[in-house]
């Protein structure tokens, strides 16, 4: 039981716990906070995997921007405790079953593929941010530009959509 392993399990438990909390909380704000916990745990896991930049981006963008946005909207809309309607009949038991089926398929697929997954992860000697940025601005420059454009469009769209109607 090495230290990384312990840390891994702790962080994993945290993530799973946060996810479960997200499901079982009745108030959306509690779910949002649970999600933040999951994000942080995942950031920790990224660090464990040697992806510092990604971990930092995860906390700053996901945790600091997106989740804040979520919380703002929840507070804006005065979301209350979820009402317990059960109109959809299919979302009950069959939905549960199907979710498990999906997970099972994915898990089985993973378990049975033997190629690269078994390789032990090597820490350290991971690429630095410099290499990462080189990759982005050289090999992936097109997607980069496109995603910038996408953000611009999204911002504009959000503004237009959320405007209060003129009188």
């Amino acid at each position: 039981m090495t230290a990384p392993l312990i840390i891994f399990f702790v962080l994993a438990a945290l993530a799973v716990g946060g996810a479960l909390s997200l499901i079982f909380q009745k108030h959306p704000i509690h779910s949002a906070l649970s999600l933040i916990v999951v994000m942080v745990a995942l950031a920790g896991l990224y660090l464990l995997l040697g992806a510092e930049f990604v971990a930092a981006v995860q906390i700053i963008v996901y945790g600091g921007a997106i989740m804040v946005l979520f919380v703002f909207v929840i507070m804006l809309l005065n979301a209350g405790i979820e009402e317990h309607t059960n109109i959809s009949r299919i979302a009950g038991f069959p939905g549960l079953l199907l979710a498990f089926v999906l997970t099972g398929f994915i898990a089985a697929t993973i378990a049975r593929s033997t190629d690269t997954v078994q390789a032990a992860a090597q820490p350290g000697n991971m690429a630095s941010t410099r290499d990462l940025s080189n990759m982005i601005f050289r090999d992936f420059v097109y997607p980069f530009e496109l995603t910038s454009f996408l953000i611009l469009v999204a911002v504009l769209g959000a503004i237009v959509l959320a405007q209060r109607e003129k009188a």
């Binding site: 999951v38 990224y46 979520f70 979302a91």
Partner: protein, 100 residues
Amino acid sequence: MIPTNYYIVLSAILFGLGVLAFIFKRNIISIFMSIELMLNAVNLAFVAFSQAMHKLDGQVFVLFVIVVAAAEAAVGLAIIILTARNRQSLNVERVDLLKL
């Protein structure tokens, strides 16, 4: 060290939990958050593979996913605000204008 398997399994578990939340939550915003959870699970898998294969492509892709998730969250929440104003409720089952 830590076998990549573990990360993948964790990713799968998180994804499954996200699907469960997607099905069972009735608040629109909660559903949206479940989507974010699913995206995060996938990100974890990307990074894990990136490390296993010693290529940076996985991490680059993760960055893009985060960006797209951000854009999606912005627009999606704007729509949710509109819907909430329209239907006066955040229960997704109340948004049923297509029902016969």
